[in-house]
Symmetry: C2
Subunit: 244 residues, 2 copies
């Protein structure tokens, strides 16, 4: 009897999945002070002619990361593009290819994230697909749940600016403290900190080296050029700390 | 011709997946100062009779989170068990049920993470399955890549202790600063900070309230009992900061 009652519990069968990877690739246009995200135009249904994050479905014999790098290599040439896993989205019905009763194949999205230097990232035009850097605050309604994935990626980027030296990946090698402040403002918004506090905190952390060179822009006083000192940062790398 | 060359590129077919969820559930035994992780004994092949993280495969009509909570509700009764997504593991061959040529169904694992109070977590014995709290530093070789998932979860826990008030979820409501220090030491290891620095930093953050009550343990001087002041912490919640 005990065995029987166990076997009569109705268990739904296991779900079958296709797995997609979607990449949230950010860049900062430091000339125009805009945070950008890489979008591509969908060429097939569902959501044909709608912008989306560059992604693909994982093929046989391919790891998740391989799949994510594969699709990016078709869209963009960038040095040191290092993808970090962001989040896995698996809500029921997130892809219209799932039948409404959910008994058909489900579509999972494993999202990845990177920040690349604008000047070193070259978009690959294949003559067919639309591809563009979009200012994050002007992104239209995207295919699938990609606005949500983008939002998640933006939050991660903001967090990373607080405790890791990602900013120096996208700044030129020598920069003024005002350039650095402007970059933080572009990503985090105007009110994240005032300039004077920001300057004091960052200099105190000890990984910005004064190059001894000054630069003059417009009518202001000449400003010192700094560089990120990776050696000075190394011992701090695994210490709990925040920059701002 | 151009079209032909495009169509002759051999693309491997899409991979088919089953999706698993695996939970890294930590607790701290504050009596014995041990960091614990919840393990269950596998009852079926592959890896029959091997310990593993409590997990399951996602069923039809079930979201990833629903699946993760479902399996936990069969193993443990705990108040306020809140799962956070950790990482998705999708390497080829991570599950022996995949055929060696990778053309069969793949098995993905979306891992989740929680820290639960030891005194309030009750294991559910169903008379069949082995289930136990294992000291993290004594965990045996687990099924699949679960040692790797556990390691990833442990790193996340260590990080969270640095910047979020998770410690107060597992301490009793009133605790001494030495209890708090001991908890950090249990998770992070002996050398994370000396007591005096730790004490100074934590008190300076302003979210520990002295209850006015003192406690006496053993031969030492009576120590003040503190509590975590959630109201004082609220405005700090989204500020970049570290505790230690």
């Amino acid at each position: 009897m005990a065995d029987k009652s166990r076997t009569t519990v109705t268990k739904k069968p296991l779900a079958d999945f296709k797995v997609g990877v979607d990449n949230v690739i950010f860049s900062v246009d430091t000339e125009q002070n805009r945070l950008l995200v890489l979008l591509v135009m969908r060429q097939h249904e569902p959501y044909r002619d709608r912008w989306c994050l560059p992604g693909t479905l994982v093929r046989q014999g391919e790891s998740l990361e391989e799949s994510a790098y594969r699709i990016l290599s078709e869209k963009i040439r960038a040095k040191n593009l290092y993808l970090e896993q962001l989040f896995t989205f698996g809500d029921i019905g997130r892809d219209p290819r799932e039948a409404p009763d959910s008994y058909a194949v489900r579509y999972l999205s494993v999202s990845y994230f990177a920040l690349v230097p604008f000047s070193q990232a070259e978009l690959i035009a294949d003559g067919v697909s639309g591809i563009a850097w979009y200012p994050v605050n002007q992104v239209p309604e995207l295919a699938f749940d990609h606005n949500r994935i983008l939002e998640y990626g933006h939050r991660r980027l903001c967090n990373k600016l607080e405790y890791s030296p990602v900013a120096f990946d996208v700044l030129p090698e020598a920069f003024t403290l005002s350039d650095l402040y402007q970059l933080y403002t572009t990503v985090l918004g105007e009110n994240f900190s005032d300039y004077s506090n920001f300057r004091t905190r960052l200099l105190k952390l000890g990984f910005l080296s004064d190059t001894g060179i000054k630069t003059s822009r417009g009518a202001g006083r000449p400003a010192s050029l700094y560089r990120f000192d990776a050696e000075a940062f190394a011992p701090l790398k695994n210490k709990p700390m925040v920059f701002i």
